[in-house]
Symmetry: C3
Subunit: 269 residues, 3 copies
């Protein structure tokens, strides 16, 4: 009984997510289907990529992830399927799958080109139903990836910035990889990496710099600082986040995608 997990920006008011289940069960009647979420903010690829990355490790070996956040649907962007040691992934080649697969080795990557595995009629706007759901179901049925289309070089996949900060003994360079709907700036510094780095500091303190702001501590919740005050915290994915309590880090601090947060040993301590 294979597992297929769905992650989309379709919302739950419409039947789009439900229809994908009809398509899947028409092809693979014994699939168990999990809705990861259908409420990724519309067309927000990095939000979808983060959610997928945060979820995959908790799913059984062989799970097929069918992810659709696809602003380029109907354009030249490729439709792809990927295989790692643990899982399969189906979706658009726009970075959405990248963080989830970049934790692992990509064993196979194909472009979805074989209409024998699509629905008979392909709409311009709903490849989730017409291409991705049927391909996910066929993978769950055991069809090998090579059946779906030509192999592609994993190096040609659309990538996102790495989901791991650059760390040296004296310094961490963390990059803002996502701005969420609240204006929080999420970086690629992982809590476990930071814990190791801090432990190695011994008695020395650290300071963190981004734009005009300096931080010297990490909070556990937004409410630990007064309203409209900037803070650092590790979010629910275990990634360092620059936030403003009851405010927007992007608006108040001017932080943008790609900005670098530098953490370094405090001098004179």
């Amino acid at each position: 009984m294979p597992v297929i997990a769905l992650l989309t920006d379709f919302g739950t008011q419409d039947i789009y997510g439900g229809v994908m289940k009809g398509v899947i069960w028409s092809i693979c009647p014994d699939a168990r289907i999990a809705d990861l979420t259908h409420e990724i903010p519309p067309q927000d690829i990095t939000a979808g990529a983060l959610a997928l990355w945060g979820a995959v490790r908790y799913f059984p070996q062989g799970t097929v992830f069918c992810a659709v956040v696809d602003p380029g649907v109907g354009t030249e962007r490729r439709a792809i399927a990927l295989q790692t040691h643990e899982h399969f992934f189906v979706g658009p080649d726009n970075g959405l799958l990248w963080w989830a697969v970049s934790e692992s080795e990509i064993l196979a990557a194909v472009e979805l080109r074989n209409p024998a595995y699509f629905l008979p009629v392909i709409s311009r706007t709903f490849h989730g139903r017409d291409i991705f759901a049927p391909v996910a179901a066929h993978i769950a049925n055991g069809v090998p990836l090579s059946e779906f289309g030509p192999e592609i070089d994993p190096d040609t996949l659309v990538k996102l910035p790495p989901l791991r900060a650059a760390i040296s003994d004296e310094r961490i360079l963390a990059q803002v990889i996502h701005i969420d709907r609240f204006g929080n700036a999420i970086t690629n510094l992982r809590e476990e990496d930071f814990a190791v780095w801090v432990e190695n500091l011994g008695w020395r303190n650290w300071l963190a710099f981004i734009r005009e702001v300096v931080f010297d501590e990490i909070h556990r919740t937004y409410g630990e600082v007064p309203p409209l005050t900037p803070l650092l915290l590790f979010n629910s994915y275990g990634l360092l986040e620059v936030a403003v309590n009851r405010g927007s880090a992007t608006q108040r601090l001017g932080i943008r995608m790609g900005d670098v947060l530098e953490i370094r040993v405090a001098e004179g301590v």
Copy 2:
């Protein structure tokens, strides 16, 4: 392993949809259950009927659709089950099931009257749990429709306007069959029917008239026209819609349910 698909206006904050699954699995333990949506606008029968119509063709042969948008619950409206060549349908006889079954031949229609297949206690307000979910589960178990109550004449079912425009060589008469929550007026003109008609026009142009407005083109998205400007587009169900970008077609254009949009060959071209 039968599939049961749920479509309701119960929302997802409460446990109503979840409880229907408990009832179903108590009766038919191996049913696979798909939530089409539980967020049909409250008591909006035509919104539910459109959603159901848009979904059914993607579900496997034998799927049981259990649909509950039921403003008349507890009144004289009939509770019914219908069978077509492909699917089964359970719900109130208020038009909700009509568009979904009108694409196909109705092989059997019964009124749900046999309490042996209901929950032991029937509330006044929640027939989704007490009648429709258990009947759907018994159908999934293979109980024939005739067990649930007396046969009814399909001609006596509560109907909605046809989901297909009146089309002649020179003219299309499309009817407004639903006003959605944004004030968009959805008509019964299908994209595929319009495509055939336009192809037959050859070099001639067309004009579309409704209330005081005239259109001579169909857009792909709302954003293709300036704010507060009326437009025509085919919506996600493939039905022609009269809309106003960032506004309400019903408020700004005075369009009402049942209004007719006329499309005819433009003269002098």
Copy 3:
């Protein structure tokens, strides 16, 4: 094929509920999983307890309810599993499970202490994923409760006020056990208990008192009284509720948790 039902305050925008399914299916591949709701108001234990109580009776024998509304996560509050004649329950020991199990006899109660049945890494903030979901899955696999940790005395469980009013021939004392998000005050008087009491009144009338308000009838819907008018009605769980049409009973009437509504035979009638 065991059933596991999930009830949380995680919302559906994030992947938390979806990840619990990945964890469950990694341990118990043939579980059927029902989302009761993931939209209990954040940290609202009595809202979660009411929803769980309202749902359990509709689920099959042997269902495992995994409920997570857990403001004390990471603190000293116990994690528990309970067994009744019909069902299993997993969650925090903060009252959330109390009303659901108090309808039945508690056959077994244990504290979850055996990490062999948890995920390998336990976060401070997400025991739903790390402890409750895996334990629910192991219970669904048939692991006896005694495996998960030491037996606990049911008398030591965190309790909520009883979900049944104090009723005598002449008088009902109903307690406000929950204030919902709209400011409605829900009491522990059940519709069926009230029906029996009223029937026994014969020709006599009754009056109901709470704070400064007196009621002499029970309405069926909010809209039966003018806006901003107080009313009594039995809500969708069959519990008597003090409400204000289009307003808040707590704000307008000053009603608080624990307040007592007294219903007594009207004199001089």
